[in-house]
Amino acid sequence: MTPCNRTRSWCMACTVLLGAVGAGAHAQSGETRVAPTAAESARPDPGVFGSGKLILTGGVSPLEGAAGGGLTPWAVIGGQGTRDEIGASAFYTRVGVQDYHLDDIGVLVGFFNRLELSIAKQRFDTEDVGAALGLGRGFTFSQDIVGIKLRVAGDAVLAQDSWLPQFAVGIQYKRNDRGAVLDAIGARDDDGVDYYLSATKLYLDHSLLANLTLRMTRANQIGLLGFGGDRSDRHKPQLEGSIAWLLSRNVAIGAEYRMKPDNLGIAGEDDWYDAFVAWAPSRHVSLTLAWAHLGNIVIEDDQRGLYASVQIAL
């Protein structure tokens, strides 16, 4: 058994996309036909909008729109669609720490378990810090994120005879709405692009899911404070990881870590980490609660608090 066997699904996705093979193709093969049995006449649900994925395998709680864990994207394609289906999901996330809060909404569409398109809108509320900085109480930074993710190899879930993960590459274009303020704090740009490579594997033997993401980014606080700065203006590699332990068919607990650059002289930035519990009361709904440590944000140190997210998937 070669680890490459998994890549067959890649070819299958191609045939679906190209529409080259009709479902009845092998019914015509040379053998003499007897009347088909009931089982042979049985067909899968014909709709292209599927809900065939196994529970919790489409990611739990996106932050930047791309399917994955609470802090970092995974190599899985979001939504409930399998390789011959289209899936979609929508989420709302709120993060509340001592001095700030973040509201985050978005939707994604997954095509044939191959390609994922996502959009998200984040609104970062500075509460009293806004007043202290002369911006006004409750001053907000908003950012729009458009993402694309392509599964390039591997099967995180079904290829349990291989330890090799599923790989995906992704791009996130982010645009912040506060160019003038970002300029004043030393950010170089109000928009930027992140590039990432993710590897995700479900180790079913051990009821564990592991993810590692390498991101190239110049975003300050994931872009909420713009892109690039006086300390550095270049894309830098950052590692992000998640580990989740499946406790039952619909409950997982885990932890995540996300390295971040530190580009702004006046607003030091720390890595983020969290511990979470995800619960999927049905295949279409998942709820995530996390305790997140976000470190220094602008002038307030040691920010931590609750991260709550709800996701609806089709």
Partner: protein
Amino acid sequence: MNPTWFPRLLATAFALAAACAPARSLADENPAPAHPELLPVFDQFGGKPGLDALMDDFMIALVDDPRTRDYFAEADQKHVKAMLSEQFCVILGGPCTYTGKGMKEAHAKLKINEAVFNALVEDLQKAMDLHRIPFRAQNKLLAKLAPMHREVVTMP
């Protein structure tokens, strides 16, 4: 580092995937590979009697589920249950012999896609829950069954 590494990485990833694709062998896989190390899991399933009882509820779930009903409603359910019980018994290191067909042969004439495959897995999970088989033990069995999707899934 600058962003031009990314297209190169992408190209490498595609080249790798393409190079791997033809490596698929056409020979049928063993439908019941024995895993002696899973003997403790076999016990958690309640041995062969436990598996036999599990199959009864598994089949009830399959016939109840609109996604899988048409495949099993008029099949020789008794035979399929007996074969599944033997197959799982061997896989879990139990003292059985699998006397059924290969997975490719058994499913070749059926129209099974990945969603239907996952539906069957879900029904099996429900049946295992019903029989109070510990979640981690369930996953050890499922880990051995999941790769069979390559032979069982016949479409597109």
